[in-house]
Subunit: 899 residues, 2 copies
């Protein structure tokens, strides 16, 4: 017979799969001997069996009866006993927390008889009827699926009738009347009276919890949070204890350390003569936990002792719910507590210092995302800005600017050099130009997966969304908050880390953590305003050092300029994984690329353009190689479609057509138009780019390779240690690589002879096409290294271009659960990841020691870094700012892998 | 000791890997007891060893000595004997024929002494010196790498000096003088005298053949023909026999049946007193083989008997080279002969009737490419057009039209409804618009892999290229042939099957084979003008019937209209594998799609547009399902980006801008422009299309599915057997499919209830993204079938769009050997094919019996059909015209697989 029911004394905290998070921790506390109201957990197995068969497994009823009997025997009371009723709570508890998603029923066991017994035992008729009224309401709504408004309306009507506004002003008789009305509502809605049998109440409540797993709301939540749908939930059935039994009762929540700063000490809130839901609802003001010391020193001391015991046991910050019933302390829940990014780092090092955890464990207690949060600039903490509203922290950063309500205003502001914040009720694809032009985005509607949130994160723009207090009238160009009207041009500030919206300009402060990461510990300390922050910087330093000492993956940066390279080194990059050369042909050099494109193949003009570019490009490389002395620097040959260097087709067509219609066309424009038309592609992403360009436009790649090789030779001759690597982009077949490689090897040999130096320059390919990955065992014959370009690889594997789709249908796709997060943010392990794995294994098949890396923003994404470590890449490369995150996560990945 | 040298008596025809094609067939003839001049073959192993080590393997020298000794002993003569020299030829012979690519040296063994012996023995001093002069010339050029023009110039100078124009007018003394001059050229160029030692000559010649494998010319040829580079060539060393020893000598080529019609009988050419190279060079006119009967009946009869023996032995048409030396017949070479398409079919059935081969073998003797050739319309065979020139048959078909020289003229002609042929020296990407507008393309330069050829094949346009007799002056708009000038507007005709260029209009006749395939045997016969053609139609019918009886793959057609569907059935399609629905929204219906796009989500306008479209779409499906009664019909939900239904952005921008500049803008244009801008995508191929559209534009897919399901229900109710299948395009993830499937299943259930019929309608996905293939084990949970869309899959796997790249750099890519043929013509087995294999195995992992097919033109490409059979697909689907080819190749694939 399968075991479905576990007494709290039977489980432990590691059984979250079976007992859910809440149940596992209740078991753990019970095992530790803490005062936990007795109860039992119905396992997730039972839920899965129920959901599969459509009814409760038979054995479940029997096992519940036995577990209940045991509690009744221990306490000497029986469920719903008319004289002294044992009451139970029934709560869901899945493996992963799904706050507010599932069901709770309290006071199970009360009925027309036992309410009298409860009144007797508690000495309070009002308490008893209030408890019964709550049961009928909760049960009606969550178990019997009756519209909750029916109960609320009846409640309000009664208060109106009595002429009171506060629930507390209703007396026992009122509540009895209300209970009768509630029972009437139940009878009307279901055609049956409110179930009086305590055991029926219990069984129905359990079934309701099972069913709550499959509500649409819960399914959507799971899709968004990427929680598997087949886990099911556990059900916790626990003896009720009451914090609302008078002045010697109360309820509270507490933390074993400060979850916002990491300070050790006593943190929490307490509310006398109250139930948990009153604390949560925020109707009454709570006192700090320290107030309990004066009110009930015995319970307070016991609680402090238990907190310490729990923290020592869990070896981490604990978050605790407790109730005191007539002077007796009960522990209702505990779990490892959530904390801010700063607290995470500080607590981790504190626990190391206290000997509770190892350095490896400390590393696992912080995340790259937390480090990122600490790295963003923040509003000056000394500023005392006027808070306007609070929304969701949708995309980090701190942005200040003038309010604009539409694209036109945003673009005009940007053109005038004025910073602006785009304010919309919600955004849609039409708002993209405005989002691009603005410093940040603020919306009144929508959550973390709304269009605004998804797109802003993709763009790296600060975003606060769902600030519901804002009334936005785009037509009138007004934003109204609490009756005050703000107009276009009024300056506001939004905090993408907290969701705060402020009025007026606020100074933005650079992060001391960033100062430390970029310039070292002393610079970090110097940027701190207080000791807490210094302690934080020190904690980050200690954890980063440990991460660096552990990690297997090397971390490089993507850098195209000497400035970027310097920055990358400062952030700890061990080389450049991607130097894009197309950026070197902008500005004054653009004309040469234009000439190159416009000239005929083999013509003197084309050669002249190449000859003019070579020394400029050589100097670019000399500058960067000098900075990167002794470290690898991967240079990608020119990649983008050539028309990117020419004028925009539409504007030029319009210009020429209008000129014609009005009488005077510039022949130069006409000539250029014909070239632009010729180079125009319907799908430039899938056109003449990368290696195709190198083969199509002979001399271009050669010029670049010669410039790079000569730069290296020059430095080598000067006694430096340049380590360039040549990377061929968009390779799909071995022949492409072979041809460029032959040319490259010839150039290397020639230049080496010319300068009289030895040059060992690796030539490799960027793997960004599925074909390259599936034929990697071929390509490997001609490559010294591969670097996965996961951005393009994502585009080709999914068949969508980021520019075209991310702002258009990604929000809907996330909503529909097609993906949990944009595959351009975190690598799509299941799809694109498989292609990467195929590429890695095929490549190693031919050349076991081939150097494999990844360049592109996935290289700095925490989850993706773990994947790249797992598949055995040698390095990741990302933008300089993300290098510290990659270092941290690479260290964590090593620890996670058990190495 | 490895064996490198094989006497002709040691091998056989199946050892082509080891002995090369020529060597294997020489061995086979020797084994059969035919009169083959004795000799031996040096294996490809020896060549590979040589190429690897850079020198001849030591054992080779020893083995050559032994083999040579054996021949010398048999013949009683020794190599280069001054009195009666044994002379040898040294010829390359690789596994695959590489005509003109490699080297031959004749008369090895002649030197200053033995030339006298040869004169003595042959009784002709002139013959002896001519032979020596040829040796020095060939040896100098091919073995010693001396510029061939040096010899030709000396030869011409001597003729000038003697005042003669014909080589034959030079006498023995002249040729002796010429030989001395040639030896001087050799000495000057190499600093060493011409090698006199016969054995040195032999060894150097052998080494030269080895080296010829790796010339650039040979490497390029192999890349184009997709012959592996590591095979190496064999070397055939054979006793010389001479057809130029007077009136009782001669040389010829013959075929055991007519290679152009398939008629049995005697076919060949003979040239008295001549050597093989004289026949090839075409300097003298040959006689038909029958002339030999009068001249030398004994040899003629012997030859006839040997021809029959060879054909019976090879069980196929044989192509034979022979020489008669003073009345003695020698067989120099044989191989299975090339033949025309018509001959291939007729010979195959003849051989079945003669009991020489089985029906399965007959099926393997013809190809889909040959069938295609027979299906194209051809010029009226009774027309006697004036031939202008001949080029390469680059893309099949028969096109007639007015000469145009540029895009503008081609487009103007097309606009005026005048058929035209684009005539260019060679084409490049700029000529694409003209190629699109013209009926056919004719170029003076370039081969089968030139831009014109590759692009025309991609477009299905008739193309003749490399017609070198044409002088084309595009600026002057003239085409000059043999002094006659043709101008724009002159009508010409080009035959893409033969490469012929004719002057004037020629009637084009539909193919009787096509008439048979589309309408049956009687219709085929009726379209024939002679008995030969009837016999051909009958042969095709017999082979097609056998193919149909053998094949495992089902063949469906891609058809979007009732007309296409009828045509597809006529060609033998067993269902529709792809019905594209976007074509159903053109013309008068376009306005509804416009409304759909322009209306707001959830608006009445949008619903109105959907409501208007549904009955129209339903009628489309009723019409097609009626035709396809009882056969599956896969309907793909709308796929292309929506802006394809709107006006072109550039034209509209120009229109509005010009209107603004000149004073009067139509507000409707402005409104439309804003919509077109909003829908514009940088890369529409990677944008909002396929299933994304279905999710983005709620109601669109639903409308289509309802129309289809209702059409099926209506027909079912009327007693028909409709078999629609719903195909979701561009699926990348299981959720996308799930959502559409849920909607589809709901509609099916609703309609079934409404009409009171049972409906069993499969829902599946088109696999055209790498992600779909690598996650097929996931998708299979939600799919009843998969159809690989290999066109899009090729685009995403390679990361290029056919429209953008095929005309731009494919010719160069083929030239560079990146691929041998456009991957859009024949599936790229190594890359895209692997992705297909992954998709198939992953899908079958989840659902072993899932139906798998392919739609897109690869489904009708011969080579690709074999691949699809191999990987175990259930069906292929292609355009109706290609259905017979697919049927034939599917049958061949089954036989090939040994099933």
């Amino acid at each position: 017979m399968p075991k479905y029911v576990y007494n709290f004394s039977e489980g432990d905290k590691d059984q979250k799969d079976l007992l859910g998070g809440k149940g596992a921790n209740l078991a753990e506390m019970t095992k530790l001997g803490l005062p936990v109201p007795p109860g039992f957990t119905i396992s997730t197995d039972a839920c899965r069996a129920y959901l599969k068969d459509g009814h409760e497994p038979e054995e479940l009823r029997v096992q519940v009866t036995k577990a209940l009997r045991q509690i009744e025997e221990t306490l000497g009371r029986t469920l719903g006993d008319p004289a002294d009723p044992l009451l139970m709570s029934v709560r869901s508890g899945a493996k992963f927390s799904m706050p507010g998603m599932m069901e709770t029923v309290l006071n199970v066991g009360l009925n027309d008889q036992s309410v009298g017994g409860l009144a007797e035992v508690s000495g309070s008729e009002r308490f008893a009827w209030d408890s019964y009224r709550r049961l009928v309401q909760m049960f009606g709504k969550t178990v019997l699926d009756i519209d909750g408004d029916l109960f609320l309306n009846a409640h309000d009507a009664l208060k109106d009738k009595k002429g009171v506004t506060d629930d507390l002003d209703l007396d026992a008789a009122d509540l009895k009347e209300l209970t009768e009305q509630f029972k009437g509502i139940v009878a009307d809605a279901t055609g049956k009276p409110f179930p009086q049998a305590p055991r029926d109440q219990l069984d129905l409540a359990i079934e309701a919890v099972f069913n709550s797993w499959n509500t649409e709301r819960a399914a959507i939540y799971r899709r968004r949070e990427r929680i598997p749908h087949d886990l099911g939930t556990a059900v916790n059935v626990q003896t009720m204890v009451f914090g609302n039994m008078g002045e010697t009762s109360g309820t509270g929540v507490c933390f074993t350390r400060d979850p916002s700063t990491g300070h050790s000490g006593v943190y929490g809130d307490y509310l006398m003569n109250a139930q948990g839901e009153d604390v949560v609802a925020g109707i009454r003001n709570t006192s700090p936990l320290s107030a309990l010391e004066e009110q009930d020193k015995v319970s307070y001391d016991e609680l402090r002792a238990l907190m310490r015991k729990l923290e020592t046991h869990y070896r981490d910050l604990c978050d605790i719910e407790f109730t005191i019933e007539r002077g007796k302390l009960w522990m209702l829940q505990t779990r490892v507590g959530k904390r801010t990014a700063a607290a995470a780092f500080r607590i981790a090092t504190q626990l190391v210092d206290e000997g509770l955890i190892t350095k490896d464990e400390a590393l696992m207690r912080v995340t790259g995302e937390q480090l990122t949060q600490l790295m963003f600039p923040q509003f000056d903490p000394d500023a005392k800005p006027q808070s306007l509203a609070r929304g969701m922290a949708a995309s980090p950063g701190a942005a200040v600017g003038a309010i604009v309500f539409d694209n036109a205003a945003a673009e005009a502001a940007a053109a005038a050099g004025t910073k602006c914040i785009l304010v919309r009720r919600e955004t849609n694809p039409d708002d993209l130009p405005g989002m691009v032009a603005a410093e940040g985005v603020l919306t009144a509607r929508g959550g973390k997966t709304s269009h605004a949130a998804v797109v802003a994160r993709g763009m790296g723009k600060t975003c606060v969304c769902g600030a519901e207090a804002l009334e936005i009238d785009a037509a009138a160009k007004t934003m109204t908050v609490g009756g005050t009207v703000y107009r276009e041009g009024d300056v506001i500030a939004i905090d993408g880390m907290t969701g705060d919206v402020f009025l007026g300009d606020i100074a933005v402060k650079d992060s001391p953590v960033t100062a430390y990461l970029a310039e070292g510990l002393e610079a970090g300390y110097a940027a701190c305003q207080d000791e807490d922050t210094k302690e934080l910087v020190q904690s980050v330093d200690r954890i980063m050092s440990h991460a660096d000492s552990k990690r297997r993956l090397r971390v490089r940066a993507n850098a195209d300029t000497p400035e970027d390279s310097t920055r990358a080194l400062a952030f700890g990059a061990e080389g450049i994984g991607l130097c894009r050369t197309e950026h070197m042909f902008l500005g004054a050099r653009k004309v040469y690329i234009e000439n190159l494109i416009l000239a005929e193949e083999g013509s003197a003009e084309r050669q002249a353009a190449l000859d003019a570019l070579e020394p400029l490009q050589r100097q670019d490389f000399v500058d960067m190689l000098t900075i990167m002395d002794g470290k690898p620097m991967t240079v990608r040959l020119i990649d983008p479609p050539l028309h990117e260097f020419l004028q925009d087709l539409v504007s030029l067509e319009v210009k020429v057509a209008v000129a014609k219609a009005t009488g005077s066309v510039d022949p130069a424009d006409e000539k250029m138009l014909s070239a632009v038309r010729r180079m125009h592609e319907a799908n430039p992403m899938l056109g003449l780019r990368g290696v195709r360009l190198g083969l199509y436009l002979p001399g271009l790649f050669g010029m670049q390779m010669r410039a790079l090789v000569e730069a290296a030779a020059e430095l080598k001759k000067a006694g430096k240690d340049p380590r360039p690597e040549i990377m061929v982009p968009l390779v799909g077949s071995i022949r492409e690589l072979q041809i460029i490689r032959e040319e490259g090897e010839k150039i290397i040999a020639e230049v080496a002879a010319e300068y009289g130096v030895e040059l060992d320059i690796a030539i490799g390919a960027m793997i960004e096409l599925p074909r390259a990955a599936v034929t990697a065992e071929d390509l490997a014959h001609e490559a010294d290294f591969f670097s996965f370009g996961t951005n393009d690889l994502t585009q080709t594997t999914w068949g969508f271009s980021r520019d075209d789709v991310e702002g258009v249908f990604f929000p809907e796709y996330i909503e529909h659960g097609v993906f949990g997060v944009s595959p351009f943010e975190t690598i799509d392990v299941h799809g694109v990841g498989r292609i990467v794995e195929i590429g890695v294994s095929h490549a190693r098949q031919t050349k076991p020691a081939i150097k494999l890396g990844v360049c592109g923003e996935h290289g700095g994404d925490p989850e993706s870094v773990h994947f790249f470590d797992q598949v055995g890449l040698d390095y990741v490369s990302c933008s300089p700012f993300r290098v510290p995150v990659a270092r941290l996560e690479a260290g964590r990945a090593t620890v996670e892998a058990g190495a």
